[in-house]
């Protein structure tokens, strides 16, 4: 275990940025988001949740796949180079970390997504424990411990010191690069343990942390799918893509062509199951109403994904959708509604 004083952090960033890209939560226009740190930027490490999740670092919102160029009668195709630059994502939270693991299940399973795999290979994650979790958090529901993030390096910000604990080979390598800035922390285990206990105590008090996922499994697929509750739940939904674009686990994307005037650029960009052209095919669309699109989002996260991935939900309880939905709809309200209905049904019997 090592430590570094808060005021020395810019030195740490500078050192890392010497030969790596450094992604940090930065405040731009009043909103904190992960972005590449440049000299002079102040990191917003005290922000619990960035607006967008840090998944951009591994799976950017838009990325080029290849470019076709026309030169007279000749056509050339240039594939996009894979990521080769080493980079560090600093300040990810335990929930975001789990989000990356969910993405791994999708993109690293056969057939491997080479763009994503290259980013995973070259990325080192420095995670930060959540000092003051909020009322919109429900990570514990998915078995995530926000007090003890298991990344390449785990960090705790206690008072004005950052405690630094490398956990993997990549983490050790990064530690070696910055070791002269860090000091060996004697007896830090105890301080960190106390902080962990403190965080876990707060977690117990939060309203969403005791949510029950009873009944959300593959066996309930048909029952959930056919439930009349969706018809009621979706009503306020505006069909915007906020929930999907701030989500750390949403992984659907669309592939499009852009006409540059002298060639074609094929790129992919995040798609949202809330949009009317989601999974649009030549014959039309297989989900024609907003109710169906709304249902798809939650069924995917809580039923289909765990059915295909040994029970792993594709929600991590970060609560971004809870905070950002323009109509104040969210996954928690959906889960609660189904639980209530079940309880009411039980009473009747």
């Amino acid at each position: 275990m090592y430590k570094i004083a808060r005021e020395k952090m810019p030195q740490l960033y500078r050192r890392i940025a010497e030969n790596k890209e450094l992604y940090l939560p930065l405040e731009i226009g009043g909103q904190a988001n992960f972005a590449v740190w440049e000299e002079g930027d102040t990191a917003a490490l005290d922000v619990l949740k960035t607006v967008k999740s840090p998944k951009d670092a591994f799976f950017p919102q838009s990325e080029n796949l290849y470019t076709c160029k026309r030169d007279g009668k000749k056509l050339s195709i240039e594939p996009q180079a894979l990521k080769e630059q080493e980079f560090v994502v600093f300040g990810m939270k335990a929930c975001d970390l789990q989000g990356v693991q969910v993405l791994d299940k999708v993109f690293l399973a056969d057939p491997v997504d080479s763009f994503y795999a290259a980013r995973r290979e070259h990325g080192t994650i420095v995670a930060l424990a959540c000092h003051e979790p909020e009322e919109t958090c429900f990570c514990k529901v998915f078995g995530i411990d926000c007090a003890d993030p298991a990344a390449d390096v785990a960090c705790w910000m206690i008072a004005d010191e950052l405690f630094w604990k490398p956990l993997t080979g990549k983490g050790e390598a990064l530690t070696a690069q910055v070791c002269d800035l860090l000091t060996e922390a004697e007896g830090a285990e105890e301080t960190v343990e106390a902080e962990k206990e403190n965080i876990r105590r707060i977690v117990e008090k939060l309203p969403y942390m005791h949510l029950s996922l009873d009944g959300w499994n593959a066996d309930a697929q048909k029952e959930k799918f056919d439930s009349p509750l969706w018809e009621e739940l979706y009503k306020p939904c505006l069909a915007c893509g906020t929930c999907t674009f701030v989500c750390p686990t949403c992984q659907c994307y669309d592939i499009k062509d852009y006409d540059t005037g002298h060639g074609v650029m094929r790129y992919r960009c995040w798609d949202s199951c809330m949009y009317s052209d989601f999974t649009m095919m030549a014959h039309g669309n297989n989900r024609t109403s907003q109710m169906q699109r709304f249902r798809q989002r939650f069924m995917h996260k809580l039923v289909y994904f765990p059915a295909n991935n040994n029970g792993c939900y594709s929600c991590v309880g970060c609560g971004r959708c809870v905070e950002k939905c323009p109509a104040s709809l969210n996954i928690v309200k959906v889960i609660k509604k189904f639980s209530e209905e079940k309880a009411a049904g039980g009473e009747q019997q």
């Binding site: 226009g29 009322e135 309203p207 505006l238 674009f245 006409d259 798609d271 949009y275 109509a327 104040s328």
Partner: protein, 324 residues
Amino acid sequence: MQKLIDRIRELLADGTVARVLGWRTGDLPYNPEPAYFECEEELQDFVYNGFCGANLSKYMIEASRLEGKTLVCLKPCDTYSFNQLLKEHRVDREKAYIIGVGCKGKLDIEKIKKQGIKGIESISGAEIEEAAESLTIQTIYGEKTCAYKDAMLERCHVCKGKEHQIYDELIGDSSDTTDADRFAQVRRIEAMSPQEKFAFFQNELSKCIRCNACRNVCPACSCRKCVFDSTKFDSSQKANADSFEEKMFHIIRAFHVAGRCTDCGECSRVCPQGIPLHLFNRKFIKDINELYGEYQAGEDITADTPLTHFTFGDAEPSIVGERG
């Protein structure tokens, strides 16, 4: 609020309306959601408080297609949007029973959180009955207070007034919460140099994640199919692929609602990235006011709209450069 609920109950019971469009209590102290209520039992969850900022007039487009009348609760500024939709024949007046609800300024949870208040357990002072000066917020990190004015939505600082433009009956008192100049921000930007203007908007628009929340919440954006959703349209409507795309989307969206935008402020309220989208709309409104005469969309449904009319003596486009 009790008076409102009692009246709603009455209208629902005697069959005047088939359903009620209002707000349902959220599971946190600040997140009520727009909802339909079809029977007395469901009304238990009905709520109307300072966090009911959502403008329900757009939901009336869908509700106009339903069987029977829909009772809709509209705040003074929402009635402008309803009027505008009426003018454009997007809602059916016969299908709506409008209760004009009182409004003393709506709250923005983002502004409360920006003050470092987190772990919120309960909020008092947001109820609509008394005109509270401040909010008392219980959090797991202790009790916090916040002045009501400091937690108000941006749009409430430039309130359009306490008068409802259209209603069947009024319940509750409203007050004009104006304490800022509606065009002050626009004027400040106009005074900047092109470089500064560009830097300002580049910074703001680069945050856009193309979630389309601004468009989908906008009562003026009532097209069945948006031009930006067309598959034949050469634009990445859901990718922030290039800084041009963001400008294109926001300028064109503002242009499409120019002269029809009532400045209800929903776009800025819902933007997950806090982009001051109202600036685009207000710039158009300000120009229209200056060049073609004062015009407030949704105020008078018989008035000529600025972009579908003209006069022979209109200013030439070169005025943009000339007035400096």
